[in-house]
Symmetry: C2
Subunit: 334 residues, 2 copies
């Protein structure tokens, strides 16, 4: 389907779907001469630099700024740690760019920064420099945070790396972050919490086992667009089984009430992996040992055809194409 | 003087003066366990990483977004390149974090990104990854850009490195960026232009000559707070001569009309350097050969006393302490 770029910027262009991809490809990447789009950019080793590095950045505008299981501060830290981890890069250090609104309560800023400090500790990656801008009240609202990070690539795990025959693993239940935020906003009483968590420690152990081909954290847009991205870039089919994909009961119930697809709702501490089938069980065991991977599951396999597609085998054995959404899912969460 | 932190965030806390420093030291750096504040953070080489790296970030909110001699896009690129250069680090690559307002004219975004691409070319440092967020109309206005960059330290040039006996050099006229922006906003007809420029190429040549002790680009707040920062951190006196400091005639005239100090107005393509006096002439010659350093001048010397002070010897031979401003200079430009 041909998608035209609208003449004014739309919310949907920041929502993780095809609209965003097209904006980035056509309007942003081309003038910047960027050719590959992954969770992070790669700096190849050379005469000047003796290691392969990954760098990444993440803008964080989540509202409310504090919610069950998380907050804008820890989210901004984990987002960058995880983007590096998804490339097989050990996070070395981060930067912190803050836009704050004039008149903001100092307590809020203090709380956010404290949460960031704690998240850096948990994620074993320090913030070592930053920049602060204060904007007039009419120019912005609250706090916007941009983190960036640099990591040393231990073993490159690329969106382009999935191979037919690979097993597909998710590291836990899908949709927790997005659904918990929606529940909180709507004042639904649930036990759902954001799953925000740093993933490098799990990834590091997996890289030692080997066989990790592709890694992606299904943040904006959740499982569906992110699985599609790997399938498209690796030129393969992601074939997954509905009865295998872990979704919390409460998440499923809430999603049903609201008419939201939990597979199209953001996670912030999970990954999708395509890995060598021979290593899959060992990798799964390793993930399950981690605090953040207890519900990890093999959910399907990579096939050759149909290329660039994510196919869901439903509970009753039917087949459904899970297409990347064009724009955004409502309600909006970040 | 004791300065208390106000209970709500003030514009002055983002303006480059003492108010900002205190906010950063007390509220931001402490919970993040940051101990040193320079243009960039340093990652020491270790078993994991074989080079000393510098990383930095810069938030860019300049209004208007396009102005004589520059724009928000190129500014965001040069800011990060220069922060790395000021640490003696060769820029390797950058990230680009964009917050854009829903409803923004696509043409504006296109123009900004094009300018960024051009600036990357001129500055010899690519943007290799990015993140885009679109915010509702009532949450922000226009475009905010956060760049971050990583560089390899060739020879560390630190704010803490100035030594008594050093010569002080500025690479060109002071206050051009800020004053040109103010003129443009007020619709004054002048030939002033922003001096936005990438500085690594000049720095690289200087590092080969040697004797470069401290480098700082006098961006927010201009010469005065930035010279004070080096003097304070290096525990020395910056002794400078009013008749030596290069200021454009038109800038001086405009500053006088508006009651603005050109030494407290931002530059975006200049540096202040403290260097070995024996190398000063050679370094000066080298700077002057560059397109961006034609008006470089030795403006004074580093002395032992009075420590942590910037002293200006006036045209008539008097002495004046140039104190770092508490808050911000009006009119506000970024």
């Amino acid at each position: 389907m041909k998608i035209n770029i609208p003449k004014t910027i739309q919310l949907s262009q920041g929502a993780g779907g095809r609209m965003m991809e097209i904006l980035i490809e056509k309007v942003i990447a081309k003038p910047l001469k960027m050719t590959k789009f992954e969770d992070a950019g790669i700096i190849q080793k050379s005469k000047i630099i003796k290691n392969n590095l990954a760098i990444t950045t993440d803008g964080c505008s989540v509202r409310p700024m504090f919610y069950p299981g998380g907050d804008i501060g820890s989210l901004s830290v984990y987002a960058t740690i995880n983007d590096l981890a998804m490339m097989g890069a050990k996070p070395l250090a981060m930067t912190f760019g803050l836009f704050a609104q004039e008149g903001l309560d100092l307590k809020i800023l203090k709380k956010v920064v404290k949460k960031m400090g704690k998240a850096c500790e948990i994620g074993h990656c320090p913030i070592i420099t930053g920049d602060t801008k204060v904007l007039e009240r009419d120019k912005m609202e609250g706090i916007l945070i941009n983190t960036a990070g640099v990591g040393v690539i231990q073993s490159l795990t690329s969106d382009y790396g999935a191979k037919p025959g690979d097993k597909i693993i998710v590291s836990g239940t899908m949709g927790d972050h997005g659904l918990s935020l929606i529940a909180y906003r709507f004042n639904f009483k649930t036990s759902l919490k954001s799953d925000g968590a740093p993933l490098w420690d799990i990834v590091e152990k997996m890289l030692k086992i080997g066989g990790v081909h592709s890694l992606k954290d299904p943040t904006r847009g959740g499982f569906v667009p992110n699985a599609n991205e790997i399938a498209r870039k690796s030129n393969v089919c992601f074939y997954v089984y509905e009865n295998k994909i872990p979704i919390k009961k409460e998440a499923r119930a809430l999603a049903e009430i609201l008419g939201i697809d939990p597979l199209q709702t953001a996670c912030e501490g999970k990954f999708i992996m395509a890995c060598d089938s021979k290593k899959a069980d060992k990798l799964l065991t390793s993930i399950k040992k981690s605090k953040y991977g207890k519900e990890a599951t093999i959910i399907g396999e990579v096939r050759e055809f149909p290329k660039k597609r994510v196919i869901l085998e439903t509970l009753i054995g039917g087949k459904k194409i899970l297409e990347a959404p064009i724009g955004e899912q409502y309600p909006r969460i970040c």
